[in-house]
Symmetry: C2
């Protein structure tokens, strides 16, 4: 069934529960919110295009999940509490069979994170989505990329490489066994933004980033911003249990160290914080793994357990490759 | 010349002057800003697609101008002071011959309005742009659509219909004489957001909206939100001097009353404010015209000077028509 634009806004977008702090939500020229004293605000934006970030025939619920998750992940990487999102959507038609599951998943995930949709724009075109997300932090406390210090441990949450392996499996570049394909495709389609972890890290982490474009490339951003270098123990980088057995060695390392779409948190913290970090990992229910150390000397060395260096042709994803 | 993504960000996006209130601009997972006490924040977002909102071969400087102007216009319609923008861009390539004039115009206009680009996202694809804009207002003072009161004058800034006539001229649906085509095409390509006017209206206007989708449709949003009706004197609606002479009568009214892309401010205010409004119009250098009155009874009547009703097949632009 096809809707007109105003029916769509009324039926789907204005139907969500309003939060108290939203003075004015969807339906005016702009949304209005009132900041609280002592807060910093942080903002991020991500665009997703059919054929590039998702397949045109992907389940609309998966598209909605990922669209919000990648934005929530940016808030997580700052240690911020996400509050508001604005959604722009180009759609070929206002087709309820597509929009109903898209909106249902978007709003369910938003509600689970206490996030409200406060504005947007819709237009006709090939499917493109853009979310801008705003969150809050205690003043001066954000986890920046620039805070890493020599001697820090380097930590990463969850497992890496699964989403990139899932994408290669779906596009036929690799063939995963069924019991590995399922979690890898799930990692690709339903990434879990580490929002609670990000906030829990505020007192202990020195620097953080979310791993969206590949571990080594994203770690490189921390190193550049902080003016430091790093040594990584490649074999400590966490992956799914069957990952290294099921894949040829020449596929494992590029996926694990340079695959994109992980949306795990990569952060650095003083050695003295190890026990505190293990406690908070248990509290938020996310596994955390130490994969290396920050050093004063620039550069990024990645070694196997036998000490041999591991070098990759590409360290991550270039959005214009 | 083609750039990689990080060169592009460094050369164009991080080169702009930083504002003091930006704690952290482009180059981290999210931007950080610090709200001031006593402010409300307002947010709006707009997506523009090649082939729908602009032509693929349009001058990149014009595309940049309009992209920012439509977002500034939403701030103007709230009476807000614009501060920050986030830009997402899908581009076929990082082609400097296209990007240099695009960025130059975008940043020049942003600087003219005191606005900083604090974040964004770039990806490869057919050209799509999305801007999210954030502005501030004194607490509780925003110009909403819902404040119109019976007896209010209805005012509009500038002239209407020119941008829609410019579009029809460029697409060959109408043929404008040269001395009318030039200002109409300029109105289409270089709309002037009424940012100073919007802020000046805060003490006097009851309700406001920007005319983006056609006068009658946008006025309809004020009427619905305010639970009132309106009488419009069609012949008072301001247009360019040659407009009615150069165009056949059956083209004039749809363009003037239902053409899109004007980005003028439509607002209501008490009759007692007429002198104050004329003073502030002179102060901000924008012409303002009274075009009708708000009434208690629902409905929207639009009449010619002889009292005959003017009815249009369409009252404005549906983004999914």
């Amino acid at each position: 069934m096809s809707l007109n634009e105003f029916d769509f806004i009324r039926r789907y977008l204005q139907a969500q529960p309003q939060q108290d702090a939203v003075l004015l939500g969807i339906g005016d020229d702009a949304a209005l919110v009132r900041p609280e004293a002592g807060e910093d605000w942080c903002f991020s934006t991500d665009m997703m295009l059919a054929g590039r970030h998702f397949f045109a025939d992907d389940d609309p619920a998966d598209v909605a999940h990922k669209l919000l998750a990648v934005n929530l992940s940016d808030m997580a990487a700052m240690g911020a509490r996400p509050h508001w999102v604005l959604l722009s959507a180009a759609l070929p038609a206002l087709d309820e069979t597509w929009l109903a599951p898209f909106c249902q998943t978007l709003f369910a995930q938003a509600a689970a994170h206490g996030v409200a949709l406060i504005g947007g724009d819709t237009t006709r075109g090939e499917r493109v989505f853009n979310i801008t997300i705003a969150g809050t932090l205690p003043q001066g406390r954000a986890l920046r990329r620039s805070g890493a210090q020599a001697g820090d441990d380097i930590w990463v949450s969850g497992v890496l490489g699964a989403a990139a392996a899932g994408l290669q499996h779906l596009t036929g570049r690799i063939r995963l066994p069924e019991n590995l394909a399922a979690p890898c495709v799930a990692a690709l389609r339903r990434p879990q933004a580490r929002v609670a972890l990000g906030q829990a890290l505020l007192p202990v982490a020195h620097a953080a980033i979310d791993v969206s474009d590949g571990l080594l490339q994203d770690l490189g951003h921390i190193l550049t911003a902080s003016g430091v270098g790093a040594d990584i123990d490649a074999e400590r980088v966490p992956c799914l249990p069957l990952f290294k057995k099921a894949l040829p060695a020449d596929a494992v390392w590029p996926l694990l160290l340079a695959g994109g779409d992980d949306y795990e948190l990569l952060f650095t913290a003083a050695v003295a914080q190890r026990a505190a970090i293990e406690t908070l990992a248990a509290a938020v229910g996310v596994s955390l793994t130490r994969i290396g150390r920050i050093r004063a000397e620039a550069g990024l060395n990645c070694r196997l357990n036998d000490g041999s260096p591991l070098t990759l042709v590409r360290q991550g994803y270039d959005h214009f490759d």
